[in-house]
Amino acid sequence: MQFMLLFSRQGKLRLQKWYVPLSDKEKKKITRELVQTVLARKPKMCSFLEWRDLKIVYKRYASLYFCCAIEDQDNELITLEIIHRYVELLDKYFGSVCELDIIFNFEKAYFILDEFVLGGEAQETSKKNVLKAIEQADLLFETTTLHYCTKFKSNK
């Protein structure tokens, strides 16, 4: 996978993950172009389109579009599966996820994605393992925050 974009029906970018090195300018151009193309597609259309020398796989969940770019030989259906898995993971983590969850906790959404996909390849196919890793990392997060709070208190 070359990159993954999440954007709203209004065309607002909600999340972007690039697995290929590109300049900011190029990224912006690609994003703009793709958001336009995907949003212009009618709801009954299939989830794939050819774009430049890549294949775009996208799927809409509620008001959010999940959009991945894969190479010519990659499997479209497994990419759809990756998108679906990711949505399920978000759903499990946030408890019936909505767009706002992703907006306000966008760093969490990234952490989950990073546990699931690494360098453009699915690294963990077990949902349970992904969630476990996230929870433990979060626990670490909590303890450091706690640690910080106690320190803060003692300083006071």
Binding site: C46, Y110, L118, T125
Partner: protein, 1152 residues
């Protein structure tokens, strides 16, 4: 201090956190930019604080803003600060920010190496994990090189969580630092059998990605993967493995045969569509690679087609799309199996999803046959009428034309039908493909001679009804068709029924609103028509008609003379004057028609698109040579430093001009005429008249179907191609009936006729004969055109660097750089570190890089040398041993040798074919006992010394001892003898030779002048000792000191080189080598190797080279090659030396 911390913490409570920022942005929809700029100011303040929590918060907000498209590159250093926080919370935010914001040109990445290394080895697995994740996004070649070893270690971490990530990230490392692939591969391979399924799947992923790009290096893994495929149940892994096999089978067809069975089993059993799809795709790929001579696989194809049919029939649009996509792959090799599903594909044309319709169109392209072309196109024409969006309609239009014109109109049996289809297409509104239709019309009219009469009639109607088309004036709009129509009517005007009417139509005032280039064609072809009309009218007795036609021209043309378009204006005024003149002649009753039509006589042949490129350069023609003298040197010197060398050439050519006398000129003229006569591309001056068409053999006997043209032509805008479909149908039926009759007759004659054949169910392809005996004029190509040139692969593909042989054992030099050494260096001077790469490429400057390269090169060349050269290898080893004894000499020798080879590498492109092995040792003398080969090298340290390395080889079964080497000194060159010995004493060779053994000795000579080659006579005396006897033997030899042996490979930078040439102290000379039949890089390598030069710069087929004599003379060469001719321009401060060196170079190449 404590107070400060407290203060910071309290401040923090009033800071905006990410949620506040997001909320704020949502609340300031009207002035978002302004709000964000105040936020960025706040963030800048926060970043200035010491408190890491505040900083992390600020960086987190910046990451969000970066996503919204704001530039945050200014905060890169702060991101690094947050990354290096000891607390996981902040570290995680830092790495996230880095992975989102950093890219290869972010310079602070240099600073992160040590931090990342620290995190990678952290006891906390999440620290490691987060570092790996971040690294996967922003790894640079430097980071990859410095951290490769650390990551490789992590591949064997105790925790699968880390192993998995480390394995996956290795792929990114390989891409950035291909040298790491070989050392890391064994461990990666191990991971294929890791107990943890996640790690295993990661390893499969990485190897599959690698193998897809360079499959041949991974063939040896096939058995392992085969085992994995049959044992794994994880669909994710299976998909990857199957994809990998898809890449491997083209290289190993036997693998394909083995795969078919498990794959078909999977196709039958799996319920996962993604896996099914992958299997079908791979089966297709396998069958494509097996396609020859494997008839028993039709079952697999049938299975695939069946499954794909199920996909296409599915209500899920995605499956439908993929089904069609895969179907088009089968179509390429097994069109028959797909053609039986034509109904389904045609059905997809009605799908509401445009992308599915487009896929179906792609399929149709390959499904047409002579039999069904008309039917399919008819269906498409219906779609054209129905299509809503212009893009889809345009797509349909191009597809119709593609389908019809494919493989040189192979499937068209009736060109009248095709022309009418094209004419119908002109009624499309708002299409962008007017140009396409026009070029088809032109192509068909020009190349299918039999159709010209019909085409001209149709085009005349189009011109008559031009007003219907001119509504769309945009570029490439439908009005482009008029361009074709006007040209066809003009060029083939003899077919026109009513040329005057067409002429009138072409000169209507409305024409002036057309685009300029079309008007220009109108004007020009009006003139052609005019000629035809005159010809028709002059035959009559009434001369007024002809004069009226001239008057018509004179009346109408001034409109075009006023045109703003220069082309139109120019043509119109020319033709206007011409017509005026004609009119004058007509008034004097002069017959002009013949002469006027002679203006446009001659046939234009279609020329193949590549024809021009394919014309071979005639022998002896040098396109690069100057025709005139180059512009004066003083001016151009600055811009073209290369012109320095070109000075001599024009001098040769000038005197030749004067030699040419009248006779010679006449002879040449004759020859040229002859040549032109034979050249199909030369437009001849002699009027061969338009009769050519009528005279063309083969046209009269063409049976043209009689069609009542008056009906469709008088009603423009009515569909008419349908008629041809019906006509064609009838014609085919008739034919079939006739055939049947014939067959029956035959059967009667031959009683034993087989019953099967005459059972004419669906007619087969061969049964259909075209309506016309159409001869499609092929496009012309020049005689003895060169074979078509191959398309090169993309040289920029990053995966190309990973084409590495993995089965070769690992060498020491390939080990990954270990941390301690690098860490210090990269931290000290990051900028310089970056330079190492480039410096190493340009010239051996930095030791580190150079040594490594040299070692590698040595090794490589060793490998290349076949067993034949084993002996040489042995010698080399011996040299190595002797190194200790004669350190100085050996070092010297080795240096120049290696340097020579390396400099070649500097100048050559990576993937050129390998150099043949070369040796500098040449035979000195030989008899039945001993063989002597020698190499002569200058000594850089001492300008007057030359070192001669002689290898003595014992060829007999006896022991050779007491060898004495002696040379008769000349005034100029003297053998250096140990102190105390006389001037004529020989030197004892410091070893004895057992049978079959060879060894090397070095002798030092002092020379005074080096500008001339020298020959020294010498003798070797030795004792041959057998068990029972010993004899005294001697061998005479001649030692040849070439001028080359006084040269020492010295690297030179291009700027220094340019300065040297500019200095003007050097004198030039040049030499030309003919018939050198070797690649340019081999040529350069030879010069480097045998003559001790180094490449300064190489541009395509031109290279500059440099060398220096032991006495400091500079020798510069400019080597250019074209075909088999190599020209060498040289400069040196010592002309005699230069002349001799060039002679020697010439000699080298005359030998090969």
């Amino acid at each position: 201090m404590a107070l400060k911390i407290v203060k910071g913490s309290i401040d923090r409570m009033f800071d905006k956190n990410l949620q506040d920022l997001v909320r704020g942005i949502r609340n300031h929809k009207e002035d978002e930019a302004k709000y964000i700029s105040t936020c960025i100011d706040e963030i800048k303040q926060e970043l200035k604080q010491d408190n890491i929590a505040v900083k992390a918060n600020a960086v987190c907000k910046l990451t969000y803003l970066q996503m919204l498209g704001y530039d945050v590159s200014w905060a890169a250093f702060n991101i690094v600060e947050v990354m290096s926080s000891s607390k996981f919370t902040y570290k995680r935010i830092g790495y996230l920010a880095a992975s989102q914001c950093f890219h290869e040109s972010t310079d602070v990445i240099m600073l992160t190496t040590n931090q990342i290394r620290k995190d990678l080895s952290s006891p906390n697995q999440y620290d490691t994990g987060v570092a790996l994740t971040g690294l996967s996004c922003f790894v640079t070649p430097d980071l990859a090189r410095d951290l490769a070893n650390d990551i490789m270690t992590l591949m064997s971490h105790t925790k699968p969580y880390i192993r998995k990530k480390a394995v996956l990230i290795m792929y990114k490392v390989f891409l950035k630092y291909p040298e790491s692939l070989r050392p890391a591969f064994p461990r990666l391979k191990e991971k294929l059998e890791d107990p943890d399924p996640g790690v295993q799947s990661a390893a499969v992923n990485v190897i599959c990605e690698l193998a897809r790009r360079n499959p041949k290096n991974y063939l040896s893994l096939a058995p392992l993967f085969f085992k994995l495929m049959t044992s794994s149940t994880n669909n994710w892994v299976l998909i990857k493995i199957i994809k990998l096999f898809g890449a491997l089978t083209p290289l190993e067809p036997r693998l394909g045969k083995k795969l078919i069975e498990p794959l078909t089993n999977l196709i039958h059993s799996t319920s996962a569509m993604s896996l099914l799809y992958e299997c079908v795709n791979t089966v297709i790929a396998v069958l494509i690679s097996l396609s020859s001579g494997m008839p028993n696989h039709s079952a697999s194809i049938q299975l695939c087609v069946q499954k794909l049919r199920i996909l296409i029939e599915d209500s899920d649009q995605n499956l439908k799309y993929l089904g069609l996509l895969a179907m088009s792959k089968i179509l390429k090799t097994h069109p028959k199996s797909v053609q039986s599903h034509k109904d389904l594909i045609l059905q997809c044309l009605d799908d509401k999803d445009e992308s599915i319709r487009l896929r179906a169109l792609d399929l149709l392209y390959g499904m047409v046959s002579k039999k069904n072309l008309m039917e399919i196109v008819k269906k498409l024409m219906l779609h054209v009428d129905k299509a809503e969006g212009t893009t889809y309609r345009d797509e349909l239009l191009t597809k119709i034309i593609d389908i019809c014109s494919q493989s040189n109109y192979q499937y068209i049996t009736n060109f009248e039908w095709y022309i009418s289809i094209l004419v119908e297409l002109t009624r499309l509104e708002g299409t962008r493909h007017g140009h396409l239709i026009a070029s088809q019309m032109l192509d068909v009219a020009i190349r299918v001679k039999a159709i010209r009469a019909f085409a001209v009639a149709q085009m005349a109607t189009l011109l008559d009804n031009a007003h219907l088309l001119t509504g769309n004036m945009q570029r490439n709009g439908i009005c482009e068709v008029l361009y074709a129509a006007a040209w066809i009517c003009g060029e083939f005007s003899e077919h026109l029924e009513n040329p005057i009417q067409t002429l009138e139509a072409m000169l209507r005032p409305k024409v002036a609103t057309l685009p300029g280039h079309i008007q220009a064609v109108y004007v020009q072809n009006a003139a052609k028509l005019f000629a035809t009309v005159l010809k028709g009218q002059e035959g009559n007795t009434d001369s007024t008609a002809a004069q009226e036609t001239s008057q018509l021209m004179i009346d109408r043309l001034p409109l075009f003379v006023q045109s703003a378009n220069l082309e139109v204006q120019e043509r119109a005024s020319c033709i206007l004057q011409l017509v005026k003149y004609i009119q004058k002649l007509q008034q004097k009753d002069v017959e002009v028609a013949e002469e006027v039509s002679a203006l446009f006589a001659g046939e234009l042949n279609p020329v193949a698109p590549k024809a021009q490129k394919k014309v071979p350069v005639p022998e002896g023609l040098d396109l690069d040579a100057w025709i005139n003298e180059p512009p004066s040197e003083s001016e151009s010197e600055d811009e073209q430093p290369k012109a320095i060398f070109a000075k001599e050439e024009p001098k040769h050519s000038r005197p030749r001009h004067t030699e040419v006398d009248e006779k010679e000129l006449a002879r040449r003229r004759e020859a040229r005429k002859q040549e032109q006569a034979n050249n199909p591309f030369y437009i001849k001056a002699s009027p061969s008249s338009q009769k050519v068409y009528q005279d063309t053999p083969g046209v009269e006997h063409i049976p043209v179907v009689q069609i009542d043209l008056s009906v469709p032509l008088k009603v423009p805008g009515m569909p008419m191609s349908d008629q041809y479909v019906k006509l064609e149908e009838e014609r085919r039926q008739k034919e079939r009936a006739e055939k049947k009759k014939k067959e029956k007759k035959k059967r009667k004659e031959k009683r034993s006729g087989r019953g099967k054949k005459q059972d004419s169910g669906p007619e087969s392809e061969e049964d259909i004969t075209p309506a016309h005996m159409v001869d499609i004029v092929t496009e012309e190509m020049p005689e003895n055109a060169l074979p078509s040139d191959d398309d090169d692969k993309d040289p920029n593909d990053p995966h190309k660097a990973l084409d590495i042989d993995l089965d070769k054992p690992l060498a020491d030099s390939e080990k990954l750089p270990v941390r301690s050494h690098r860490a210090a260096e990269s931290l000290k001077s990051p900028a310089e570190d970056g330079d190492v790469e480039s410096a190493a490429i340009h010239a051996p400057k930095k030791k580190n890089g150079k040594e490594k390269r040299e070692k590698k090169k040595d090794k490589d060349s060793d490998r290349k040398k076949s067993s034949k050269h084993k002996k040489k290898k042995q010698k080399k080893e011996k040299e190595e041993k002797e190194k200790k004894k004669k350190k100085k000499h050996h070092h010297h020798h080795h240096h120049s040798d290696g340097g020579g080879e390396e400099s070649v590498q500097n100048g050559t492109v990576e993937d050129e074919e390998p150099l043949p092995p070369m040796s500098n040792y040449c035979l000195l003398a030989e008899n039945s006992y001993i063989k002597m080969v020698c190499d002569i090298q200058g000594n850089l340290q001492d300008g007057s010394q030359v070192v001669v390395s002689v290898i003595f080889e014992n060829k007999c079964d006896s022991f050779l001892k007491s060898m004495e080497f002696n040379v008769l000194d000349s005034l100029n060159s003297k053998l250096q003898r140990p102190e105390g010995s006389g001037p004529h004493d020989g030197l004892t060779v410091p070893f004895q030779l057992p049978p079959g053994v060879s060894n090397e000795a070095r002798f030092v000579f002092t020379v005074q002048s080096i500008v001339m080659p020298q020959k020294l006579k010498g003798t070797l005396t030795f004792i041959v000792k057998n068990e029972d006897s010993s004899t005294h033997e001697k061998l005479d030899f001649k030692l040849h000191f070439t001028c080359t042996s006084y040269l020492i490979t010295t690297p030179c930078y291009s700027d220094a080189f340019a300065k040297l040439l500019e200095s003007g102290d050097l004198k030039g000379s040049s030499v030309r080598l003919e018939g050198v039949n070797m690649p340019f890089h081999h040529l350069l390598a030879r010069i480097c190797f045998h003559h001790h030069f180094s490449v300064v710069e190489r541009i395509d087929s031109c290279a500059s080279m440099y060398s220096r004599s032991i006495q400091g003379h500079h020798v510069c060469l400019l080597v250019k090659t074209s075909g088999q001719t190599v020209s060498i321009d040289a400069k040196c401060d010592e002309p005699t030396l230069l002349g001799n060196v060039l002679d020697e170079i010439k000699q080298t190449f005359s030998q090969c």
